[in-house]
């Protein structure tokens, strides 16, 4: 199942974003050897500071199993500001109906040996359908996505081949990267859903995930601290105070499990 995290709700899901940054470090630096900036085990770049939208796949324990990052192409995005090599010096596409997807990845370790919906193949397709459905409902017709040749092969294998490519294949450290075009059409969504056997609504209600994460926090927190946090959250008189109380609870839960937080939502 999927969750969209953006600037409007990220104060509730800081713990998930932290898992995502760690997943990105494992995938893009450790496994793929991309020339990315990793600090304290988290891969974070300047585009994460531009309020992108993240599409996250979560397993039944609400752990992040995959992610992708979306930005508008009318403003700053990776193809306009970083991936010059791919475009061979040409100015990038700019369109109200075109979003850029970057940092697409799934957690092979967490999903290895999984069954049913808990596999690399299912999660990859689910993440793709999530991006397409979220984009389509936002009035977006096409996605431009920066991927490596391996992901390109995976897309071809999952009945989700890009309809075209822009620019050229460029060197990104150990591997190559290219910009592919994917349409957010009902036909493509159905094809990928059929390929992976995805049915029905795949988006989790925000409330469900938030309360599940709060329970996880409760389980790791010292009972006195947990009670204090609950009191603080209940006593909040507006959204801002409530968000601050929840952020404090999440931060304390992070400290008690030895998780450190490089990024404060």
């Amino acid at each position: 199942m999927l969750l969209i995290v953006d600037a409007l709700n990220k104060h509730r899901f800081g713990a998930l974003l932290d898992q995502m940054y760690q997943l990105r470090a494992r995938v893009f630096q450790d496994r793929m050897g991309w020339d990315v900036n990793v600090r304290h085990g988290r891969e974070i770049d300047l585009f994460d500071g531009l309020d992108p939208a993240y599409v996250l796949t979560l397993n039944n324990s609400y752990e992040v199993t995959g992610c992708a990052r979306l930005l508008q192409t009318t403003g700053p995005h990776m193809l306009s500001d970083v991936f010059h090599d791919i475009l061979d010096g040409e100015p990038p596409l700019r369109s109200a109906n075109l979003w850029e997807s970057t940092r697409f990845c799934v957690d092979r370790k967490l999903l290895s040996g999984g069954q049913g919906t808990n596999t690399v193949s299912y999660t990859t397709s689910e993440l793709m359908v999530g991006i397409l459905e979220y984009a389509k409902s936002s009035g977006i017709t096409d996605i431009i996505t920066v991927i490596d040749p391996l992901m390109d092969r995976i897309l071809h294998r999952s009945d989700n081949a890009p309809y075209d490519y822009v620019g050229k294949t460029a060197d990104m450290g150990k591997v190559k990267a290219l910009a592919a075009l994917i349409d957010c059409s009902e036909e493509r969504i159905q094809k990928v859903r059929n390929f992976a056997g995805i049915t029905g609504n795949i988006f989790l209600p925000e409330e469900e995930v938030a309360s599940a994460l709060a329970i996880t926090n409760d389980a790791v927190l010292d009972p006195t601290v947990a009670a204090y946090c609950r009191d603080q959250i209940d006593a909040a008189t507006n959204e801002r105070e409530r968000a601050a109380a929840i952020a404090l609870q999440n931060a304390l839960a992070g400290v008690q499990t030895g998780r450190t937080r490089a990024f404060d939502a």
């Binding site: 600037a7 939208a53 009318t74 100015p91 109200a96 409902s137 936002s138 075209d164």
Partner: protein, 237 residues
């Protein structure tokens, strides 16, 4: 053809007084919406732009209560990349203090704000409202959202271009592929023909045309070809 081919092409008159409110009215009537507002700040010049088709009583009340300082359709929506349906904001206490009053003024409660991000850290916000019931609004919105995105970016670009300094900074930079596609369009070739000539899919041709139209600040391909010729980016067909 989009329903906008009859609309005034705003970017024709950079620096001059343009009828932005009339443009919002035209957006409302062609998309079946009740009211529309636009707001932005130009971070380079510091100019604030705001105009609306809301009735004067509400405008005056809104300004005198300084609602713009807490209005979440401005504050929160500007940080989203996707259109923000007001349903997503209505748990916010600030939303209620602004919109309970809007209701007293007989204004609709359903709406969506389209955030537009420009190249220089500028953000524009196009908000539209409707008095349809929640379920009718949901289905109407899904029909017009794609057009709304297009007109929101066109409007924002036009407003930013109406300032001399920004106009100079925002030069249309077309890629060689975009110029090629426009050049073949000027020669009268169809999208399908152009795809065959350039060995790309006809959808890719469409994406390049869409991008060219936006970079040139136009809503139609015909206008984009004309503008590209006048800027010397392509040769006359």
């Amino acid at each position: 053809m989009t329903p906008y081919t009859s609309l005034v092409d705003l970017a024709n008159s950079p620096g001059s007084q343009t009828d932005f409110v009339g443009h919002l009215d035209a957006i409302c009537s062609s998309l079946g919406l009740d009211y529309a507002s636009y707001a932005s700040t130009n971070p380079i010049t510091g100019h604030v732009h705001a105009f609306t088709t809301y009735p004067d009583e509400w405008k005056n009340h809104y300004m005198s209560e300084r609602f713009h300082l807490l209005d979440p359709t401005l504050r929160a929506a500007s940080r989203s990349i996707a259109p923000v349906d007001w349903q997503r904001l209505n748990q916010d206490r600030d939303f209620q203090s602004v919109f309970n009053r809007a209701h007293d003024f007989g204004l609709p409660q359903s709406g969506v704000t389209i955030p537009v991000r420009g190249p220089f850290g500028d953000t524009g916000l196009l908000s539209v409202t409707s008095d349809l019931t929640a379920s009718d609004w949901h289905s109407h919105k899904s029909k017009v959202i794609q057009e709304l995105q297009t007109v929101a970016v066109n409007l924002h670009d036009s407003v930013m271009n109406s300032e001399r300094l920004t106009h100079l900074l925002r030069r249309a930079e077309l890629s060689s592929r975009e110029r090629e596609v426009l050049q073949w369009t000027a020669a009268g070739k169809s999208q399908q023909d152009i795809g065959d000539i350039l060995a790309i899919s006809s959808r890719t041709v469409e994406v390049h045309l869409r991008s060219s139209r936006e970079k040139l600040g136009t809503l139609t391909t015909a206008q984009a070809v004309g503008r590209a010729i006048s800027l010397g980016l392509i040769m006359p067909g």
